[in-house]
């Protein structure tokens, strides 16, 4: 039977964004040409080239750091904290005013569905600025000890999965605490950061307070290794995180790392099954699974395994994969050819190791980078798809029989960023959450974020916290941990 109710295409118009054919670097309040080669950024849904972007060299980074240092010493550091707050409030309001523009641009450059960029990424980014704007003049009373002081210049390197949101997570707390920043957006998703630079100008932010240097790994290394950077903040892969930790070791730089994850989403037999299935879907297919805290390991109690999997497959069969700009799209494009290759490699290994692959019948566009939502059953904790971060729409299903076994399996990972618990029994939620070695534990929900709530990992998922009062300490000296 064909579906009688076919949703007609409902594309969000891209006319609201004005993408320049090429972009320079944003240094000292101006857009300037870089000294390096430029590179192309593409729309992963169509492989269309969106723009050419400058690749920052060590020399460019040095210029940006010097601008940031000047701004810190002369303007931003000495500024009355309440005035710093005003700038942040202004940026937050501008993000809201230009929300649709940011959402469309983010979906174009990243491949994520417009529903998510519109309803999650952009509103949360604005919320982070609002939240931290409020802290700017209250730091002395934040319970972080007497008179916490800014660190100076922060070098920040962010990933491609939530380009604007990760920028907000980094820039908002740094600015609120009186630091200035040099930020390097990801190579495949530089455009929303460059639009943010325009917002900084629109907000009359003093030159040099925010500097944006685009580029690839070498540019990031130059930011991290620059001797005049006081603080390094990185979100991305554990592999790169490790090399950053090595580079920073022995220096006076403060470091926070937010790295990979292999989160367990634990479903007990007394869970609200329909909502748990929704949470599993939200946990692993949100943002095509390009989420460091994605619930990529489903741990389901054996006595409800068949019921949950049947429900899950039916639900996945109704996910709408396709044009990220269509307002009815649930799953968009994989961010890059490189990432797609990694997902393919790991899923092929999963099959070769004996796990059962299931994918719904779904038509994928011919051009662009696409991968269908995928579920692996019969996964053993020894399989690589149960251990390695896939960073794609791939769920591995494992089972358990008792709560102790669930905890043991959930903790049996080198990561420890997030976890989920599904049960109607409140006491069980509290008990299990205490035993999980993960920075964030969600109960009867998943992938919910809020600026008031600290976020960060255990073990190889990194250290330090972002958001909440905890997140402020990463950018202050003399601050006690709350």
């Amino acid at each position: 039977m064909t579906d009688p109710f076919q949703y007609a295409p409902a594309p969000e118009s891209r006319s609201i964004v004005d993408i320049a054919p090429s972009y320079g670097l944003f240094v000292d309040g101006e857009f300037v040409d870089g000294t390096g080669e430029s590179f192309k950024t593409v729309n992963p849904a169509t492989e269309e080239v969106l723009s050419e972007v400058a690749s920052g060299t060590a020399e460019d980074v040095d210029r940006a750091v010097r601008a940031a240092r000047r701004a810190y010493a002369r303007v931003w550091g000495p500024m009355r904290p309440a005035d710093r707050g005003k700038y942040l409030f202004r940026i937050a309001r501008l993000l809201q005013e230009r929300a649709r523009e940011f959402a469309v641009l983010e979906s174009l450059d990243n491949g994520k569905p417009i529903r998510e960029s519109r309803d999650v990424d952009v509103p949360l980014a604005a919320a982070h600025f609002f939240y931290h704007a409020g802290w700017a003049d209250k730091l002395d009373w934040a319970g972080l000890g007497p008179g916490p002081r800014p660190l100076g210049v922060a070098g920040q390197v962010i990933p491609w999965n939530f380009p604007l949101l990760m920028l907000a997570w980094k820039v908002a707390p740094a600015l609120a605490t009186g630091n200035t920043v040099v930020l390097k957006p990801a190579e495949t998703t530089p455009l929303s950061a460059l639009l943010f630079a325009e917002v900084c100008r629109q907000a009359d932010l003093p030159p040099g307070v925010v500097n944006i240097v685009t580029g690839a790994g070498d540019t990031g290394r130059a930011v991290v290794e620059h001797p005049d950077v006081d603080k390094v903040a990185f979100t991305g892969s554990t592999e790169v995180g490790r090399s950053i930790a090595r580079a920073v070791a022995g220096t006076a730089k403060k470091l926070t790392l937010e790295l990979g994850g292999k989160a367990a989403n634990i479903v007990f037999d007394d869970a609200p099954i329909d909502q748990a299935v929704e949470g599993i879907v939200q946990g692993i297919f949100f943002n095509q699974g390009h989420v460091c805290c994605a619930g990529s390991r489903l741990l389901v109690q054996e006595n409800v395994h068949d019921e949950v999997i049947a429900s899950l497959q039916r639900r996945i069969g109704r996910l709408r994969v396709g044009d990220p700009l269509d307002k009815n799209t649930d799953i968009g494009a994989i961010n890059s050819a490189e990432q797609l290759a990694r997902i393919r490699e790991l899923t092929d290994i999963g099959e070769a190791e004996g796990a059962q692959r299931w994918q719904p019948a779904c038509e994928l566009p011919e051009r662009g980078f696409w991968f269908p939502p995928t579920v692996f059953t019969d996964v053993s904790p020894a399989h690589r798809i149960a251990r390695d971060e896939v960073f794609g729409p791939v769920l591995s299903v494992l089972t358990f029989r008792t709560p102790d076994e669930a905890v043991a399996k959930a903790n049996n990972t080198t990561y420890g960023l997030s976890a989920g618990i599904w049960t109607e029994k409140g006491s069980r939620i509290l008990k299990i959450a205490d035993q999980l070695r993960a920075g964030v534990v969600w109960a009867n929900t998943f992938n919910k974020f809020d600026p008031t709530s600290p976020f960060g990992g255990y073990k190889q998922s990194g250290y330090g916290r972002e958001g909440g009062r905890h997140g402020l300490t990463a950018y202050l000296q003399g601050a006690d941990r709350p």
Binding site: P4, Q6, P272, D274, Q275, K327, N328, E424
Partner: protein
């Protein structure tokens, strides 16, 4: 037509209880068994249910999809008048509207049914003769359901004798909330029997059940007892139909069919006034239970003012501009 209460009905022996469908043959053995069964159903997390309908509500239904949805919604309307002031004239006027909802556009589909109080079923039946439009009558001491079982059954028989094709009964919410599930079950079974060939819609009055857990349990109870449809509300209690309630009921009919093979319909009633609301419900039906429910045989809207908004939106799609309330007929 008026029927006299059967004087023997009050003392008559209750008929033996028919067993529910195979996998659930033993769940109505005793109050304890039915309670264990209903409380063994998976719980509903209200926050999660609300989040799910919020996402479904953000679906963008435009152009051809919207045109299809509007016509489908019109064909699913149970055009309703349930006022103390109802008269045969009012019912005839409603029936005329049901046949041709938009006199200016004969391509507009007719509605599914006209829903009236039992004593006016025969008037509606006569006025709808020669059409496929069904006559639905509310019965069982609607809307409160506070009467003895004999009175309720007499009410049902009276409406059926008057020509009702569908009976909309109310469950005994007092008994349900007090945990007397088997009483509720037996009553639905008895009403179903009294219906004869008429289809039975079981009104849960979810506004009085309050929690989504209770909605799921009541839905299963009504389906086990043989209800052909489960319906949210009488329209006399607020809140009436809401999207989270409809979500839970769609999940219930979907799961029930998966286990028993029997398909049960759903009717949200009361509070659905705009095309936007109706389209959100259709999206929910489509994505939660599936397209098998997207027909008037399996999904209805109990509404009075919804139809006119659907007609205005339909005219807007055809002509490109909005007309006013005088371009659709009042009932």
């Amino acid at each position: 037509m008026t029927s006299v209460l059967d004087p023997g009905a009050l003392s008559a022996q209750a008929p033996p209880r028919p067993e529910p469908l195979a996998p659930f043959a033993d769940v109505t053995r005793s109050d304890a068994a039915v309670r264990a069964f209903l409380h063994g159903l998976p719980g509903v997390d209200q926050v999660g249910a609300e989040a799910r309908v919020a996402v479904l509500g953000s679906r963008s239904i435009k152009t051809t999809a919207k045109a299809w949805a509007i016509d489908t919604a019109i064909s699913m309307v149970d055009l309703t008048t349930l006022e103390g002031a109802d008269t045969p004239g009012k019912v005839r006027s409603l029936a005329a509207k049901a046949r041709r909802p938009d006199p200016g556009d004969p391509t507009t589909p007719p509605v599914a049914a006209v829903c009236v109080y039992g004593d006016l079923a025969s008037v509606a039946k006569q006025a709808l003769e020669g059409t496929a439009i069904k006559v639905a009558a509310v019965a069982t001491a609607f809307p409160s359901g506070r009467a003895s079982r004999a009175v309720k059954l007499a009410d049902v028989r009276d409406a059926v004798a008057g020509g009702a094709d569908e009976i909309d009964m109310v469950i005994d919410r007092g008994a349900f909330l007090a945990g007397r599930h088997l009483d509720v079950y037996d009553e639905i079974v008895a009403v179903k029997e009294a219906c004869g060939d008429a289809h039975l819609k079981v009104i849960l009055e979810t506004g009085e059940l309050v929690t989504l857990d209770a909605v799921r349990r009541a839905s299963w109870l009504a389906m086990l007892a043989g209800g052909d449809f489960i319906k949210t509300s009488t329209g006399k209690v607020s809140p009436a139909a809401t999207l989270p309630v409809c979500l839970v009921m769609m999940e219930a009919v979907r799961d029930f069919r998966a286990v028993t093979g029997r398909q049960v319909g759903v009717k949200p009633a009361g509070g659905i006034r705009t095309t936007k609301d109706a389209v959100k419900h259709l999206v929910l039906v489509n994505e939660v239970a599936g397209p098998d429910w997207l027909s008037p045989d399996w999904f209805r809207f109990g509404a009075s003012s919804l139809l006119n908004d659907l007609l205005l939106q339909r005219q807007k799609l055809r002509t490109g501009h909005y007309s006013g309330p005088d371009h659709v007929t009042i009932d």
